[in-house]
C-alpha cells in the first residue's frame, strides 16, 4: 500500500466554492471516520485535488488518533494486490487485511469500468467496512453512474453514502492557489501578475500550477520581475519582450506555436483517426492488467489496416470467458493450480482444457481392493481368529472400532487376502476404498512430486472413506512417504474414516519406521495372524479341493491339514501342485499323490506321457518338493525347455 504524501493535508488545500462541499465532507470523515458519509465518494476532473483530499483525510484521521489504521490504495494497486493474492491463493488474507483498515482510501475507482470481478470484490469490501463502521472513501474522475458497466449495487452503495464533486476552481480560488504556490516557492511575484494568470481559463489546478511554473521560469531568466502585460503575452504563447526591447533568450522561437499545434494534432489523430488503435490498446491494457496474455490483440496493432477489430476483440473476450470457465473447473478440482499460465493465455485454450482434464483424471479414485479376494474365501482358525473377528467388526461399523486395524504376521499367512476382503466388504457400502501396497503408495507419491501434482494426489486420498495399506513396513526409511501417510492418517482418523494396515512385524520392531507412525499404529488394534493352524489348513484344503473336484477325498484334505505349512501361500502352492499332478495323471487327487507331492515318496505308477519341465537340472519330484515359489513364467522360455522322457 502506498504511503500518504506528507504535503497533501487539509492545511495545504485551498478551499473555494468549487470544492467547499467536498472538503467539508472530507474533514467530517477525517475527524470521525465511519460515523458520517460512509462511503464518501468524491469525483471531479483530473488535477482538481481529489488525491490531495483523499490523503488529507488520512492525515487528519492519524493526527486525531495515532493508532488508527489508514490504508491508501489506488485502484491499479488494488488490482495488482488482488491478482497477486489470487495467484498466491491468498485472497482471504488480502480481504481481511483491507477489511481491517479503520479508514480505507481508494483512489481512481473509475478504472473499475467493465471489471466485474473487481467490482464484486469492492462491493464485498464496502459492505464489510460499512458493517464494521469503518470508513471508506473513494475518488473517481466521474460520478458512479457514469463509470461504464458499474454494478448497480455499487452505485446504490455509493449513493447511500455521500457522492460529492469537485469542480474547476473559480477565479478567486485560482488566485488563492497561485498565491500559495508563490509563497511555497518563496519567489516575489506582483499581485497583478497573479491576477493575469488566475484570469486564464484552466481545466485543472495542475494546469494552473503549470502556468505559474512557466511564469516563474521566465521571470528567473529575465532577472527582473515581469509585468502584468508580459505575463499576458506569456500566457498567449508569446515570448514577452524584456525591458530593453530584446526578445527573451528562452527557446520560445517561431516554431513553438507550430510545435504545440502539431502535438495537439498528434493527440487528436491518435484518439480519433486511429480510434481502432485506441480501442485495441484499451482492451490490451484492460486484459493485461488482469494478467491475461494479449499477444493476439498486439498482433492487431502491428497490422497496417486490420479488419474485424471488434470481432477479434469479441472473440478474444469470449476466449477469456472460456479460460475463466476452465479456471473455475480447475478451482473445483485443484484450487492450487488456478494460476497456471495456461489459464491466462487465450491462445492456449486447448492447453488450459487439457490441464483441467489432466487434473480431473488425477481426481480418479485411488486403487481399490482386488475383487478376487473375499471374506467368504477365508477360513477362521486359531491362528487368525482375532484378526477375523476384528475384520468383521470393522466391516460392520467402519471407523467406529479398531481404528486403525493393523494385521500383523509373517509372509503368506493371508494378511493381504484379509485386507482386500475387508476392502471389498467395505466397498459394498458405497464407500470409496483405497487399497494398495505401501510400495504403490510410495511410487504414486514420487510420481506426484515429480509431476508437481502433490496437491491432487493428496486430495485423491483425502477423499477416501477407507484407506487400506498393505505391507506398511515397506515405508521404513522413506521419510516423505511416512510424513504424507502421517498427515493423511490424522486427517482420515479425525473424520472417522477406517484405516487398515498390514505389517510383517510388530510396528515397534520395524527399523526406520517413524515413531509417530508407530505410536499411531499401536493406538489401534494390532491383530496378529500366525502360520495357518490345523483348522485353517483343513478348511482351506477342503474348500479348494471341493471347489475343483466337488466330492474330493476327505483324507487328502485331512492329510494336508496335518502337514506343517509355514504359510497359507505354501499350502496353496502344495494344493496347486497336487492338482496339476492329478490332472497330469487324469485322476482326482489321492492321498498317495498328496504324499508324493509333499514328501517326495516315489509313485508306483508313472505316467508314460512326456512331461515338460524347465532345464534346471532338477528332477521333477525334487522340483515339486521345493517349498519355493513355483515360477511359471520363465524368461525366454523356449530357450530353456528340453523334452525328457521318463
Amino acid at each position: 500500500m502506498e504511503e500518504l504524501n506528507p504535503r497533501f493535508t487539509f492545511e495545504t488545500l485551498v478551499v473555494g466554492a468549487a470544492n467547499r462541499l467536498a472538503v467539508t465532507a472530507a474533514r467530517t470523515v477525517g475527524e470521525a471516520p465511519g460515523t458520517a458519509y460512509n462511503p464518501l465518494f468524491v469525483y471531479g476532473g483530473s488535477g482538481l485535488g481529489k488525491t490531495h483530499l483523499l490523503m488529507a483525510i488520512g492525515h487528519l484521521a492519524r493526527e486525531l488518533r495515532a493508532d488508527i489504521d489508514v490504508e491508501y490504495v489506488t485502484l491499479n494497486e488494488f488490482v495488482e494486490l488482488y491478482q497477486a493474492a489470487v495467484a498466491a491463493g491468498q485472497t482471504d488474507a488480502l480481504r481481511s487485511r483491507l477489511a481491517r483498515a479503520d479508514v480505507l482510501l481508494v483512489d481512481d475507482v473509475h478504472f473499475l469500468a467493465r471489471r466485474h470481478e473487481l467490482q464484486a470484490e469492492l462491493l464485498r469490501l464496502v459492505e464489510q467496512l460499512q458493517g464494521a463502521n469503518r470508513q471508506i472513501v473513494l475518488t473517481s474522475d466521474r460520478p458512479p453512474t457514469e463509470i461504464q458497466d458499474l454494478d448497480d449495487r455499487l452505485i446504490s452503495r455509493f449513493d447511500g453514502g455521500l457522492v460529492v464533486d469537485i469542480d474547476t476552481p473559480e477565479f478567486e480560488t485560482r488566485l488563492a492557489i497561485l498565491r500559495r504556490g508563490v509563497a511555497d516557492r518563496e519567489v516575489a511575484v506582483e499581485a497583478e501578475v497573479l491576477e493575469v494568470i488566475a484570469g486564464t481559463q484552466v481545466q485543472s489546478v495542475r494546469e494552473l500550477i503549470g502556468l505559474l511554473n512557466r511564469f516563474i521560469a521566465f521571470q528567473a531568466v529575465s532577472e527582473i520581475p515581469l509585468t502584468a502585460a508580459a505575463a499576458g503575452q506569456l500566457l498567449a504563447g508569446q515570448v514577452p519582450a524584456t525591458p530593453d526591447g530584446q526578445a527573451s533568450a528562452l527557446p520560445q522561437d517561431n516554431t513553438d506555436e507550430f510545435a504545440a499545434f502539431l502535438s495537439g494534432i498528434s493527440h487528436t489523430v491518435q484518439e480519433q483517426v486511429d480510434v481502432w488503435r485506441h480501442r485495441v490498446q484499451e482492451a490490451i491494457s484492460q486484459w493485461a492488467s488482469e494478467g491475461y496474455r494479449t499477444d493476439r490483440l498486439e498482433r492487431l496493432l502491428r497490422q497496417e489496416v486490420p479488419s474485424g477489430i471488434e470481432r477479434t476483440i469479441r472473440e478474444y473476450e469470449r476466449d477469456i470467458d472460456r479460460l475463466r470457465g476452465f479456471q473455475r473447473a480447475m478451482a473445483r478440482v485443484d484450487p492450487q493450480r488456478v494460476s497456471e499460465p495456461e489459464f491466462f493465455d487465450p491462445d492456449r485454450l486447448k492447453d488450459a482444457d487439457e490441464l483441467v482434464q489432466a487434473a480431473l483424471r488425477e481426481g480418479r479414485p485411488p486403487p481399490g481392493p482386488s475383487p478376487a479376494w473375499t471374506m467368504a474365501d477365508l477360513v477362521t482358525g486359531g491362528s487368525n481368529r482375532v484378526a477375523m473377528s476384528a475384520a468383521a467388526a470393522v466391516i460392520a461399523t467402519p471407523g467406529a472400532v479398531y481404528n486403525p486395524l493393523v494385521l500383523q504376521g509373517p509372509d503368506g499367512v493371508g494378511k493381504t487376502h484379509l485386507l482386500h476382503a475387508i476392502g471389498n466388504a467395505l466397498g459394498k457400502h458405497g464407500t470409496r476404498v483405497a487399497c494398495l501396497t505401501a510400495q504403490e503408495f510410495v511410487d504414486e507419491l514420487l510420481d506426484a512430486i515429480d509431476g508437481d501434482r502433490i496437491d491432487g494426489w493428496r486430495r485423491r486420498y483425502r477423499g477416501t472413506t477407507a484407506l487400506l495399506i498393505d505391507d506398511v513396513q515397506l515405508l521404513a526409511g522413506k521419510e516423505r512417504s511416512q510424513e504424507e501417510l502421517f498427515h493423511l492418517y490424522n486427517r482420515l482418523l479425525t473424520e472417522g474414516r477406517q484405516l487398515v494396515f498390514t505389517i510383517g512385524a510388530p510396528p515397534s520392531e520395524v527399523p526406520g519406521l517413524d515413531p509417530r507412525l508407530v505410536s499411531r499404529l499401536q493406538g489401534g488394534l494390532i491383530a496378529p495372524i500366525g502360520p495357518p493352524d490345523r483348522d485353517v489348513r483343513r478348511g482351506l484344503a477342503s474348500a479348494r479341493l471341493a471347489a475343483r473336484y466337488g466330492d474330493a477325498d476327505p483324507d487328502v484334505a485331512e492329510y494336508l491339514a496335518e502337514s506343517q505349512f509355514e504359510s497359507l501361500r505354501a499350502l496353496v502352492n502344495a494344493i496347486q501342485r497336487l492338482v496339476r499332478m492329478a490332472d497330469a495323471e487324469g485322476t482326482s487327487p489321492t492321498l498317495q499323490l498328496a504324499r508324493t507331492v509333499l514328501e517326495g515318496v516315489p509313485r508306483t505308477s508313472v505316467s508314460t506321457r512326456p512331461v515338460r519341465t524347465s532345464g534346471m537340472g532338477l528332477s521333477l519330484s525334487s522340483a515339486l518338493h521345493s517349498h519355493e515359489k513355483v515360477v511359471w513364467e520363465w524368461p525366454e522360455l523356449t530357450d530353456r525347455i528340453v523334452e525328457v522322457s521318463a
Binding site: E257, F258, F261, G264, S266, E271, V273, D274, E304, P306
Partner: protein, 199 residues
Amino acid sequence: MSLVNFTTREISCKIVYYGPGRSGKTTNLQYIYGRVPDDRRGRMVSLATETERTLFFDFLPLDLGSISGFTTRFQLYTVPGQIYYGSTRKLVLQGADGVVFVADSQVRQLDENIESLQGLQANLIDMGSNMRSMPLVFQYNKQDLPSELILKARELDDALNFWDIPSFSSDAVQGKGVFETLRAISESVLRKLSTEAPR
C-alpha cells in the same frame, strides 16, 4: 475526397478559410506560414492582384510528418472574399474537409459577414453538405481594434453563430488566435473521422 487512407496510411485535410473580403483570411495563412519550419511547409501560392487582394485563392500545403504512423498533410486554402468571385469560392470549397469562417469584427462589416455566411451556407448545400455536418469554426478577427469600432465576440456569436459552433477571437496580424483556430478546425475534422475508422 479520401480524407484518411488506411492502406497508404495517409491523412490529408483540406481546410478552407472562408469569409468576406478583407476579413483577414490570407493574413491567417501568412502567419501560419511564418511559424512553420521550412521543411514542413510547401510554397505558399498566392494569386493576388497588384493591390494585394486575393484574386483567385491562396494555397498553403503543410506537411505535418508522421503522426501515429500516418503521413499527415494539411492543405490550407482561402477563398477570394469579394462578392464577384462567387464561382471561384464554390470551386475552392469543393472537397473541403473543414471550413474556418473568418469574420471581420468591425461593426460596419456586419452585413458583409452575414452575406458571406449566407453564401457559404448556400455553397455547402449545393455541395450536398450543410453548416452542421461540415466541420466548421468561427474566427472573429480584428478584435484588437478599438472597442467602439468592433463587435465583441459574444455579439458576433449572437449575430452569426446560430449553430453554437466554436468561435475564436483573433488578431491575425499579431497571430493571436490563429493557431487556436487552426487547431480547433483540425481537431473537428479529425474527430469526424472516428465515425469512419475501421471496426
